[in-house]
Amino acid sequence: MVTPLIELDDLGVTFGKRAILKNLNGSVKGRAIGLLGPNGAGKTTLIHTLLGFHPPSAGTARILGHDIAENTKSLRAAVGYMPERDSFVAKMSCVHFVRLMAELSGIPSEAALERAHEALFYVGLGEARYRSVDTYSLGMKQLAKLAQAIVHGPRLLILDEPTNGLDPPTRARMINLIKGIRDGGRARILLSSHLLRDVEECCDEILVLKDGRIAANCNLDEERKANRKFIELETRGGDRAEFAEAIGRLGCEYALSGERHIKLVMGEEIEISDLYRLAFERQIQIRRLNYKRDSLEDIFLKAMEEEETGATRGGNGNGRL
C-alpha cells in the first residue's frame, strides 16, 4: 500500500485573529500532487506549515507518515524545498552555495561537493556553476533553487511556483526536470502553482484550496477516465448514417456532425472495441477518435464555482475528501 504523501488532520493555522487554513482534513497519495488555488487561498501557508515555519493553531499533519510537530528533524531530512521568491546566499559561487546546503542537510563535506556538482549538471547549470548566484538570470536562479532542493536526495520535493517568471524554453526545461524526478520514482512531488498547465503536465493528483479550505481533491487520471464518455469520430467511406444507427442500437446517444463526423455519448457497458467492430462490419474507416474530457481548467473552475455556491460535497468545507 502506498504511504500517503500528506495527511491533514483537522489542520488549522491562524495569524493573529485571522484564520488562514481552516480545519483541513484528508490525505493525498499521488506521485506528484498539484496544489492549486487562487491568490490568497492558503497554498504557501500550507507549505510553510508542513515545513514547520508556522505552528498549527489546531490539528496536525503528517508527511510520509511523520507528524510535523513531533518528528521535525527526521522529517526535514526527507524534504527538499524550492521557495517561490528569490532565495540564495549572496557573494557565493553556485557550487559552494549548493554544497553548503548539502552540508547543512548532514552530507559530509566531500560527498556534498560531489553532489553539488552533480545536482548543478542535472539542472543544467554545469557550465555556470562557478559563477556567483547574484549574477544569475531569473531562470538560472530558479534552476539553482531546484539544485539546492534536490542535492541531499529528498524523498519529498516541495516546489512553490517553480516556473514563475520563466521564458518558454526555460519553463519547458523546468517541467521536464520535474517530470524526470517524478518518473524516477525516488522522490514524490508537491507542486504549488497557479499555472494550471504546469500542474496538468506534471501531476497525477490535485488539491484545490480556496479561502483556506479544500475545494477539491481528485486524482487526475481517474477524473479523466470518468469523462471518457464523450467521443467524436471522424469516418471515411461506407454508409455513415447506417453506422450511426448501429451505434445507436448499441445504446449510445449519437449525432451526425458535418460530412464525416459522428458525436456520441458512450453507454455504460460499451467498449471502444465495439465501435471498431461495427465499423469493420460496415466497411467504414475510423480515421480519428477523440475523447472529449474535462480539462484541469474545467475541474478547477468547477471547484471554484461549487465553493461559491456553497455546494461543496462533504458539507464541512473540506471538499471531496
Binding site: F15, G16, H48, L51, G52, F53, H54, T72, K73, S74, R76, A77, V79, Y81, P83, R85, D86, S87, F88, V89, A90, K91, M92, H96, L100, M101, E103, L104, S105, G106, I107, P108, A111, R115, H117, E118, A119, F121, Y122, G126, Q148, I150, H152, G153, P154, R155, G180, I181, G184, R186, A187
Partner: protein, 306 residues
C-alpha cells in the same frame, strides 16, 4: 547521481552528527571573511600589540637584551594585573573594530536575499543558525583577545617561575572572562542589529552609533547631574567597569569635591560614585537578553505580518 547518468538519485551515504552541523556556517563564513584584503590587513594589525607586549615580557627577563638596548628596567611597564588589564582593554577595542567590519553581513545578507527558508527547512534550527553565525565572531575575536592574553600570561609565568604563576593564576580567569563577555556582547549586538536593519552598511553604522551615542548621552547626564549614573547606558563604561572589577582595579568612588550649592545655600560636597559592579553586570546581561529576543523575532524563515 553520476553526471553521465543525468538522472535524479537519492543520497544513501552516511550523515554527519547533528550537533556538528552549526560548525558548517563558520567554516564557509570564515572563508568569505578572509577574501577581504582590508579585513585580513586589519586582523594582522590586531596582533601588533600582543607582539609588543610579548617583547616587553621578554625584555623584563633578559638582562643581556636590556643591557644591549641600554634600557633601564624601571622604565619598563611592570608585568602585573594592570599590564594585563590594559592588554584586555586595548585588544577589546580592536575586537570592536573588527566586529563592525565582519559581523553585519553575516545575517543581513541572508535576510536581504531570503536565504533563511533554505537554511531552516533543513534539519537545522534557528538556534543553530544563530550559534553558527555567532561562532564566526567568537572565533575571530578570541584569536585577538583572550588567546594571545592567556599565551602572554603563560610566557610571563614561564619566565618568572612557578611562584608567580600560582600567585597570579586568577588573572587567567580574568583575561578569559573579561574577553568572552565582551565578545558575546559584541556578537549579539552585531547580529541583532544586522537582523533588524537587514542592510550591511546601515548595520555597521548602527553598531558604531550604539556605542558612541549612548556614551555621549551618558556623558551629558553625568555632566548635568554631577553623577556617574549615565555610565549605565554606556556600553563602553559598563565593560570597562566589569574589566576593572575582574582585575581588582574597580573603584566605586571616583571623585569627591565641594561646590557652590543652589541659590547660595553654601558649599555642597559632591561624591561621584561609579555604578555598582552588580548593576554593570546586570545591564550587560539585559543587553544580551534584548539582543536574543530581537534575534528570536527576526531570525525566522518568513515573517508573519499581522
Amino acid at each position: 547521481m553520476a553526471v553521465f547518468e543525468n538522472a535524479y538519485k537519492g543520497y544513501e551515504g552516511g550523515l554527519t552528527p547533528q550537533w556538528s552541523r552549526f560548525l558548517v556556517l563558520p567554516r564557509y563564513s570564515l572563508r568569505e571573511v578572509f577574501k577581504s584584503k582590508l579585513f585580513t590587513a586589519l586582523f594582522c594589525l590586531c596582533f601588533i600589540y600582543p607582539l609588543v607586549a610579548a617583547i616587553l615580557v621578554y625584555l623584563h627577563h633578559n638582562a643581556n637584551a636590556i643591557q644591549l638596548l641600554q634600557i633601564n628596567v624601571r622604565e619598563l611597564l611592570p608585568i602585573n594585573a594592570s599590564f594585563f588589564l590594559y592588554f584586555v582593554q586595548f585588544q577589546g577595542w580592536c575586537a570592536f573594530l573588527l566586529t563592525v567590519i565582519v559581523a553585519p553581513p553575516l545575517v543581513s545578507r541572508d535576510l536581504a536575499n531570503n536565504a533563511l527558508p533554505l537554511y531552516l527547512y533543513r534539519p537545522f534550527s534557528r538556534a543553530e543558525y544563530v550559534l553558527g553565525k555567532m561562532s564566526v565572531i567568537v572565533v575571530l575575536l578570541s584569536l585577538i583577545t583572550w588567546v594571545p592574553g592567556v599565551l602572554l600570561f603563560f610566557l610571563q609565568a614561564y619566565l618568572e617561575g612557578a611562584g608567580w604563576l600560582w600567585r597570579n593564576l586568577w588573572m587567567v580567569g580574568a583575561i578569559f572572562t573579561g574577553s568572552i563577555i565582551w565578545i558575546v556582547l559584541l556578537a549579539l549586538l552585531a547580529l541583532a542589529i544586522s537582523a533588524l536593519v537587514k542592510w550591511r552598511v546601515v548595520a555597521s553604522g548602527a553598531l558604531l552609533g550604539l556605542f558612541f551615542v549612548p556614551s555621549a548621552l551618558g556623558g551629558i547626564v553625568n555632566g548635568l547631574f554631577q553623577t556617574r549614573v549615565g555610565h549605565l547606558i554606556s556600553p563602553a563604561a559598563l565593560i570597562t567597569n566589569v574589566w576593572r572589577g575582574l582585575f581588582g582595579h574597580y573603584v566605586r568612588e571616583v571623585d569627591r569635591y565641594t561646590t557652590d550649592g543652589i541659590r547660595g545655600r553654601g558649599l555642597v560636597e559632591v561624591v561621584l560614585l561609579e555604578p555598582p559592579l552588580w548593576a554593570c553586570w546586570l545591564m550587560i546581561a539585559l543587553a544580551c537578553l534584548v539582543c536574543l529576543w530581537l534575534l528570536a523575532r527576526k531570525v525566522r524563515a518568513y515573517e508573519v505580518v499581522k
